[in-house]
Amino acid sequence: ACSSDAGTEAAGGGETAAADDGVITLGFSQVGAESGWRAANTKSIQDTLTAENGFDLKFSDAQQKQENQIQAIRSYITQGVDVIAFSPVVETGWDAVLQEAKAAGIPVILTDRAVDSSDETLYESFIGSDFVKEGEMAGEWVAEQYDGEGYKAVELQGTTGAAPAIDRKEGFASAIEGTDIELIDSQTGNFTRAEGKTVMEGFLNAHDDIDLVFAHNDDMGLGAIEAIEAAGLTPGEDIKIVTIDAVKDGMQALADGKINYIVECNPLLGPDLADIAKKVLAGEEVEKRIVVKDEAFDQAAAKEALPTREY
């Protein structure tokens, strides 16, 4: 389209010069700093893409706003960086700006979250977890452990409309389908501890017979633990808890027996990103989709893993 021509012109000068000096200028636009997971993710990227490793990292925080992110990417294009990487706030709406980047000859790498675009050539690679898979893994474990006992489960959803929330819900639901585990309630806890706690309190007021909580992230699970304890019940025993993320606090609670199972969502994307960025600039073929290996932990595994966890 016409806009791409404009992009070329605008980007014009800076771009070729930068790659020659051996230092890779990488513009990274982060979603925000909304959770501990995100902080670990940011840290991983900032710690990996250092001057020693041959990178000049330009980092910007979009404060969870798509417009800020688009603005940052445009700015990277005009600044003439070598590679652009970002974790999109939303899946859709990137075509225009990615076309500008493409027209300017700047490769784009996605991390953590995908974009929903019909044109796959707009980005080089997507590094990140498979959220549906995470939900499935949690669901499968639950089905395996508790099928046949007539469990009643409640779900603490992530932010309404956000991709991880939608995908994890979907994955979990499909995995427990056909079992006698019944999902009796599902509310959003906005991925935060405080809301996880209040919503769980509400669940406990509303239902007498909750056996299991599936939380879309550790933080909400930790909030639920507080609520369960406040109601005089024992988390992990009276009510089983399954969460996703495996951040440090979550792992600790798992090791302490307050959570029963955690599916990991690995935030340490820095090394993969550095690797792919170098390859892309060297002209090598890279895979379109790089699924980060997500482990899962039960209580025993957590005790083992905890001392060596990086985040």
Binding site: S60, E67, T78, T92, G93
Partner: protein, 342 residues
Amino acid sequence: MTTSAPAPGAAPTKPVARTARARKLPVRLDRRYLPVLGTFVVLALMLIVGGTRYDNFLTPAVISNLFINNAHLIVLAVGMTFVILTGGIDLSVGSVLALSTVITAALLQAGLPVPVVLPLAVGAGTVIGLAHGVMIHYFQVQPFVATLAGMFLARGLCFLIAPESIAIDDPSFVALASWVQIFGEWRMTSSVLIALIVVGLGFLVLHFTRFGRTVYAIGGGEQSALLMGLPVARTKVLAYVVSGTCAGLGGLLFAMFSRSGYSLTGVAMELDAIAAVVIGGTLLTGGTGFVLGSVLGVLVLGLIQTIITFEGTLSSWWTKIVIGVLLLIFVALQRVLSLRRT
């Protein structure tokens, strides 16, 4: 001192007021323009400082992008200016913007043609604005609360219509969105054009129509406006309709900007719009301020964001702190400038 012609048959009257004498001195800048001027001066300062600090900063591409990235906010700010001038506030604009993007995306996905979709999306904003106006004027609900309810309502509708984000690939919409005029290194997209037209219209309406002047009068004192026999009810309702419509249109621009509809778009964008209007020199108590000031306010916010990106090494928290500090510097300087000259 010149005396006015006494009315025929009048007793030997003296000219009544001497107050105007000071006012009659030529070229004394109207005090009402001072805050806007202050904004302008500080904006210019920021540009200069940025230009000396970063490479590639003072380029047409960056300035063009400033407009391109903030076209939707400019439109929101114009609408918000109307409402704030009447002494009200509209907290719903962020959500209404989201609603409009979602409606646009959903309807286009359903295969409706662009000429049908666009008016519907903007119209949704108009209807919500009308509802606000009616609540505020006829039921005397405080603007803050009425529009807060509208904010929840619009957000709720977004979730109902589109729980997940929807990409827009309708060819005619994409064509419209990617229309661009290039003058050298300057770029003007369709959304910037629309935004500028809205600004122009906003200016004309405020300064060259009775409606516009009544908006100011209401801000100066609603009771007075009422006793002056001005159509307060109609004007107040209409101000919210304008704001709602602008939010709807802003949503359209945002849809063009992001080519998608997403229910969580524009969370807290109303604060940006309000901040822009206030930074642009409009008093929240109503009655004083200009559309052009609000545009400057948007540019200030956009420029702060640009500087953050150019800085390039700020962690998330420093970003927030720096935005706060820049805002503070800005407001304080503006305050000093406009105090000094009064």
